[in-house]
Symmetry: C2
Subunit: 318 residues, 2 copies
């Protein structure tokens, strides 16, 4: 069937955002390959502007608006990386940004939003209160909402990370990404469909919030729980992403918090790079399903590196 | 005056070790440049094999030995990174390695030595006991000693990191490296003399073990103290390195442990890469002397990334 996001849309998005994002490096580690039993290619979006792939989608969405839509500013609710990404897009375009964040969001992400001039509105850490607070902010300011994932331009922007990886690394058998609301997953699935059809896209998801896993089983969008240290992945799938995911993603692998921490620690220690818990989920999925990936060429999008270092002690004091 | 290590020696070492080391990337960070007020170029030896520049010197020294010298294996005493580097060199060349390590050395570094098949002999964390234990090991095994820094082939190998940086980044006004025993500092000073004479080489040193600072003042090798979290920099200068340092290094900037932790944290948070405390010392020195470096092009060799994550909590729980 025809897709709402075309190959040309992704190519155009990539051109549009190119001046404002990093083309991030792909890293490999012999010792991790030996341990995992496959050839892993890590696309380092933790080195992206604002420390996460979210810079791509937010920038593409903001650049796709008309001057009139932009005039009264941009607004969103986000637990973190999209918040910073949208604040940065607003700063680049010279418009105000209004960011609704749960009061429990990591301090480093709040500081990031402020550093780009974003105005923060705190709310309770529930979807209902996030949406209610955002509606009030938009009512008052007239700002244009850029949803963190349930937005075609955001999804198209996220697709550019996989596009770059396919340009840099040939013949990937698999590409794994984390799934929260599904913006990255749906964009990546479409990028594979258009640019590397032999690559199977698989999602990694925390077992404590396994709504994508259940949604693929039941065929309808299931509600997320909120039980995981992978704080970026605790949302249900967007209704714009779900049909794409249903069509192109054959498998979701769920992992426990212990498996996530183990994988995160291995990336820190062996690759000497910082990734946030949500970001380690796909690698944890590879380690959990070693047989499946044995001898294969496996891409992983490292989604972000914004951790609250003050809280790291508890993960690593073993 | 003629140098004991020539330009050709460094070029030959670079060719010799090239198949066994990474050409590490140079990273930059706009937000760190804005904060520091200068243009910083970080040579990421934390991504080097064994997680530190020491892979260069150990490999060059091992490759410079005759088969007869190599036959009975290699031995050294080291608190960590050189230990792993020599164990790795031995593994590559198929010879045994005997490593004397203080019992206080970080667990991650001991694990690294074992993973390369090195045999560890624990000793008390004093120079006297390290040397006594090593002498006994050599007496028993007949192994060839490769000193961690007081060895011309090691110093020549360390010089190759700066050589690569000069090839990748033009017109550096300054290049900062940490100083412990002086292997990296002397090698870097010679590399600048031969390959980038307009670049001033400056050392960063922990204030709690400021022997290089005092040695440059007094004109003779002063004894190191052992009071710093920068555990790789607690040794006195080698007598092979000191004449080179005296001739070519005009300045040592000392920094406190608080300044080191602040600098380390900034690198972790903003660059999303892991560096060990010793490695953050030169960047701490830049932040301490902002006026000096204002508007300049400043290289920094990030020496290593082997931290004991179990101990990170105490640095970052503020």
């Amino acid at each position: 069937m025809d897709q709402l996001i075309s190959k040309k849309d992704i190519e155009a998005a990539h051109e549009r955002i190119r001046p404002y994002i990093h083309r991030t490096p792909v890293m490999t580690s012999q010792s991790i390959n030996d341990y995992a039993g496959c050839s892993l290619f890590f696309k380092c979006e933790n080195f992206q502007n604002v420390g996460a792939f979210k810079a791509r989608g937010a920038m593409n969405a903001a650049l796709s608006l008309t001057p009139d839509q932009l005039r009264k500013g941009l607004a969103t609710h986000s637990s973190g990386n999209h918040a910073q990404a949208l604040a940065r897009a607003g700063k680049i375009l010279g418009v105000k940004t209004y960011i609704v964040m749960p009061r429990t969001a990591p301090e480093i992400k709040k500081r990031g939003v402020k550093s780009y001039g974003g105005e923060i509105f705190e709310c309770e850490p529930t979807l209902a209160d996030r949406e209610k607070t955002l509606a009030a902010v938009i009512e008052k300011t007239g700002a244009c909402e850029i949803h963190p994932f349930n937005n075609y331009e955001v999804m198209t922007g996220q697709a550019t990370a996989a596009k770059e990886l396919f340009e840099d690394v040939e013949k990937l058998d698999y590409l794994l990404v984390p799934v929260g609301g599904g913006g990255m997953l749906s964009g990546t699935a479409l990028a594979a469909y258009y640019f590397s059809p032999q690559t199977n896209v698989i999602a990694g998801e925390p077992a404590g919030s396994d709504d994508a896993y259940r949604s693929l089983k039941s065929g309808k969008i299931e509600q997320a729980q909120s039980q995981s240290i992978a704080d970026g992945l605790l949302t249900s799938l967007g209704d714009k992403a779900f049909p794409i995911i249903k069509q192109f993603v054959k498998e979701v692998i769920t992992v426990t918090d212990e498996e996530i921490i183990f994988a995160m620690r291995m990336i820190w220690e062996r690759m000497k790079i910082i990734v946030e818990p949500s970001c380690a989920v796909p690698f944890a999925a590879v380690l959990k399903s070693k047989d499946k990936f044995q001898g294969k060429r496996v891409g992983i999008i490292l989604s972000g590196g914004n951790v609250d270092l003050n809280k790291m002690g508890k993960f690593f004091s073993t």
